[in-house]
């Protein structure tokens, strides 16, 4: 039996083109804003132009009288619509402090972009004109922008909390041990880094449309969301509508990177106003609005300390960070930095470890998950600090890493932070990257340029990352006080005509699940992917799911699909045995056909079995009709992908400009179901991580104004700024799931910022110890050079 279920027909591992692309590329795909919804009202938000201000009065007269306007509401008009505040699902400590947060601010606005009134009208343009006519009188208060200043509580944003401090979360399993480690260390490295705020900037802006059904009091909520299932529960609870009356559909969704892993005021307003006005209500974000009012990523001040013996072997790692919440909690704001809490020692063995995070409110856009969520921050701190350690000890950056790698034989590795790293084989991965990039030749080139007195310096930057993904074992989430589980659901259904439907609880928004889930099923069933359809992102079709984020979909959702397929095949085998009058153990299965061992003429295709299962005319006793299986898979552990990334840069000393000449990434995400999609995920992640290192930063002035809320000023890298990525891979399967897969969605964004920054520091190391923060703009690089020269 098991031999059949374990059969593979070689589909897994093929670089199949994505099935979703023709529709996306030809414009046939439909996004939320594309939906034609007759009779829909549009909403527009009046947003605070001040970061911290009392709302004295709001005059809506002129706006109400404006053409095409149906209503204008302020917070007090809608208070009775809410059964609860905007949900925050992660109370990270029992005493964590959270301000009240409703879709419209009342009394006080806490960041530039905080909505204070909503205009309802017949068209988006009429609404835009009327939004400008709402006259809000504010009393501006000094803004709290800087994290360390916020912690002094000199100026408290939310009076009712009495402090800007949101929480302190600590992990210190061996306080005496770590003290001793630092006392006895031959080398100590202390660094402070800034994780600047980033604007996620998904290609599709946010968009919502709520359509009340003509009867029964049901609502269909269309949203450009990554989390249709979570959204259904959360909107039901917040707006006070039975969960069974809400259907959430995420049509084609153009990227999210965590920014659509949230429950936003606009979703709640559209639902509440559709209920109130009994007509469809919709909204689509504008770009500048999105920069201000969609969550931002990162936002941390990091302190990291390494203690090492005389050879540079780690004795202890201590991290103490301040994390910017922004003006309020969004869905998992408080928990995001803690997704990195266990990873500040990176891929290196250390006997002692301590981590502390202080969450703090500021008058800025709320932060939340953004590609990597907590893990890029951790990786950045340890990987830059390891370079400092290498310098202190006087060895090559590659060598300091090799000396400290968690040895291959210690996997599964019990980490000092309390995790179990599933599998790893770090040394060979690093060697492969160094060889492929031609590390020794590059070092020689670097020396040559220096000797020639060139003003264009070559830098080589290394980053070895390990991350935890595959969110998540539900019990671990419970221990972190997260308000949901981490399982995933799948149904595999073979229809009477032998077409296959795969229903998944994951919610792809660019990842390619329609291709990969079909490949998993095709591989096992030995049929063509063209006969398999993947259904998702509609809570009426896929009622159970935990959606897509945290590089979880393949290892958790793909595993569920794999298991459900096995179950269907097991049932088919029973029917085949019955119809072929053979024992189940005597059956073989290949290319979608059951046959009896030794009697090659006795065969039955899966298609015929599907039809028999449907007619149920002749099934084994006690077997239910139909070929269908549903399963829910809760992973026993996280997965721990890893890899070596190497950036090669040229730094122009005269202008400070950094040019990324080469980028080599050797990732290990376990077996690659579709290598083409894996590489696509790496490319996208690299672009975002390189963006963080060189270009991107949400810049706030001291009054809390976001100074670069357009794409002219917020610099996203384009293909022209990026070299042709050089990719390699190693394969270390994860023992925690049946596919052995790990996850690749975030790897590029996690590994690349320190690789690029280490390369810049390396390029200028002969001039002096360069201190530089991200993004490494020409002016910053130039000034950093002036500073060491002075």
């Amino acid at each position: 039996m098991t031999t059949i279920a374990n059969a593979s027909s070689g589909v897994i591992g093929q670089p199949m083109l994505r099935r979703e692309d023709p529709k996306l590329l030809s414009g046939e795909a439909r996004f939320t804003d594309d939906l034609k919804i007759p009779g829909a009202l549009w909403i527009g938000l009046v947003r605070s132009p001040f970061a911290n201000a009392k709302i004295i009065s709001i005059d809506t007269q002129d706006a109400k009288a404006s053409p095409g306007i149906v209503a204008v509401y302020v917070a007090s008009d809608l208070q009775s619509e809410w059964a609860g505040p905007i949900p925050s699902a992660w109370q990270v400590t029992p005493d964590m402090k959270s301000p009240a947060h409703y879709p419209l601010a009342s009394g006080k606005a806490n960041y530039v972009g905080d909505p204070v009134a909503v205009v309802v009208g017949n068209s988006p343009t009429e609404v835009a004109d009327a939004v400008a006519l709402v006259d809000v009188s504010y009393e501006e208060l000094p803004a709290v922008v800087d994290l360390e200043e916020a912690l002094t509580d000199a100026n408290v944003i939310h009076e009712e909390l009495g402090t800007n401090k949101c929480y302190v979360w600590e992990l210190n399993p061996n306080p005496q041990g770590i003290e001793d480690a630092f006392k006895s260390a031959a080398h100590v490295v202390k660094e402070r880094y800034i994780q600047q705020r980033l604007i996620p900037a998904a290609m599709e802006p946010r968009s919502v449309a709520v359509v009340p059904s003509p009867m029964g009091g049901d609502y269909t909520l269309y949203s450009a969301t990554q989390i249709p299932h979570i959204l259904k529960v959360m909107t039901a609870l917040t707006v006070g509508i039975s969960e069974s009356k809400i259907r959430v559909i995420a049509p084609s969704v153009g990227g999210g990177f965590g920014s659509k892993l949230d429950v936003y005021p606009e979703e709640l307003l559209c639902l509440a106003l559709a209920r109130k006005h009994k007509v469809p209500v919709r909204w689509t974000e504008e770009r500048t609005e999105g920069a201000q009012a969609t969550i931002q990523g990162r936002g941390q001040v990091q302190h990291i300390e390494l203690a090492a013996d005389k050879d540079g072997k780690l004795l202890g790692v201590r991290a103490d960070i301040i994390a910017d919440m922004g003006g309020y909690q969004q869905l998992i704001t408080a928990g995001v930095p803690l997704l990195g809490a266990f990873l500040y020692h990176g891929a290196y063995h250390t006997p002692t470890y301590a981590f502390k995070c202080t969450g703090v409110y500021t008058n800025k856009t709320p932060t939340d998950a953004y590609r990597g969520a907590g893990r890029p921050e951790a990786t950045y701190a340890i990987e830059r600090a390891m370079d400092s350690l290498a310098k202190t000890v006087g060895v090559d950056p590659a060598e300091i890493r090799r000396r400290n790698f968690i040895p291959t034989e210690s996997f599964p590795y019990n980490s000092p932070a309390g995790l179990v790293f599933d599998s790893g084989n770090y040394g060979p991965n690093l060697d492969q990257a160094l060889t492929a990039v031609g590390y020794d030749t590059l070092r020689a080139d670097q020396e040559k340029r220096r000797a020639e007195g060139s003003t264009k310096h070559l830098g080589i930057g290394l980053s070895f990352f390990v991350e935890m993904c595959g969110l998540a074992p539900s019990r671990v989430l419970a221990s972190l006080n997260y308000a949901a589980g981490g399982w995933e659901s799948a149904t595999v259904r073979i229809l009477p005509t032998s077409k296959v439907q795969v229903v998944t609880g994951t919610a792809p928004h660019g990842q390619g699940h329609e291709t990969v889930w079909a490949m998993i099923v095709a591989d096992k069933l030995g049929i063509s992917v063209d006969d398999i359809e993947v259904l998702h992102s509609d809570t009426s079709i896929a009622p159970h799911g935990m959606d897509t984020y945290g590089s979880r979909s393949l290892s958790v959702g793909g595993s569920a699909v794999h298991i459900a397929t096995e179950r269907v095949l097991e049932k088919a085998q029973k029917i085949a045995a019955h119809l072929l009058e053979a024992s189940e153990d005597d059956l073989e299965y290949q290319g979608g056909i059951f046959s009896v061992k030794g009697s090659p003429d006795k065969t039955m295709p899966l298609a015929a079995i599907a039809f028999e299962a449907f007619t149920a005319h002749n099934l084994p006793d006690g077997l239910e009709p139909n070929l269908e299986a549903t399963t829910t898979w809760d992973p026993p552990n996280f997965t721990f992908p890893f890899g070596s990334h190497i950036a090669v840069v040229e730094v122009d000393e005269e202008t400070g400009k950094v040019e990324l000449l080469r980028y080599m990434a050797v990732d290990d995400c376990g077996p690659r179901v579709n290598p083409l999609i894996v590489e696509g995920q790496i490319h996208g992640g690299l672009a975002q991580g390189i963006g963080q290192a060189l270009y991107e930063e949400a810049v706030y002035d001291s009054a809390g104004n976001l100074l670069n809320a357009t794409f002219a000023d917020y610099l996203l890298p384009s293909a022209a700024e990026l070299p042709t990525f050089e990719l390699g891979n190693t394969v270390t399967p994860s023992p925690t799931n049946p596919l052995g897969v790990k996850g690749i969605g975030e790897a590029g964004a996690i590994a690349s910022p320190p690789a690029v920054m280490n390369a810049i520091v390396d390029a200028l190391s002969h001039i002096g110890p360069i201190q530089i923060e991200m993004p490494a703009s020409p002016e910053r690089v130039w000034k950093a050079i002036q500073a060491v020269r002075a």
């Binding site: 500048t288 400009k657 810049v699 020409p778």
Partner: protein, 270 residues
Amino acid sequence: MYPASFNYLRASSVREAISMIGDNEDAKFIAGGHSLVPLMKLRLATPSTLVDIGRLTDLSYVREDGGQIAIGALTRHRDLEISPVLNAKAPIIAKVAGQVGDPSVRHKGTIGGSIAHGDGASDLPAAALALDAVFVAEGPSGRREIKSTDFHKGFLETALAPNEVLVEIRIPANIKSWSFQKFNRRAQDWAIVGVAAVKNGSTRVALINMGSTPLRAAGTESAIQSGASLKEAASQADLGLDPPGDLNATVEFRRHLAHVLVGRALEELG
């Protein structure tokens, strides 16, 4: 963002465009729309009427005319970039046009729009200044010529009257010694600082984004005239200028970049 509402008229000749705009001070010509529309979307410009001159294809040309090259104002950046005449006789314009924005900008934006907009950060007006170009404008009372050095009056302000259409740009042919230095962070971006320099008898150096208008580096030019070394001349690049400071570069860094880039340009001129 949605622009405020406006009327839209499409002209089929320069004459018609001029009469359509009449004496309506709130009306504006629109060519490629790639400077005007962004301003309208941010509601920084709210023209009551747009007179579209974008389809006046007879104003899209590059041709030799005596010892000069005449460029129609409606010529798109992309057409400048690939123009055989320019590539042979005044490659600096082709080169500059090829570095404006990104391909979609280059296929829509026009040289006339770029010059008429009068933005100190634009590339083509600086090239025109370095070439001592002459602009031909047509108004209700006919055509007149305006020297490029007399054209830029202030921030987004030019010598054009509201009812005048820029119809032609005239530059000298046979430009052999030239340099274009555009410093930006991403290929698609405006210059943080840029330099267009031409040696054609005398040396003329124009700067991009070093003031509120496209301008010439008077300090450098006079230093060269009085026989200073290239290095000395480059160090005068920002003399008397008041460059802007923004997120890409502070005033101090812009001055520094002007020195470096002018130095590189002068070296390239030889």
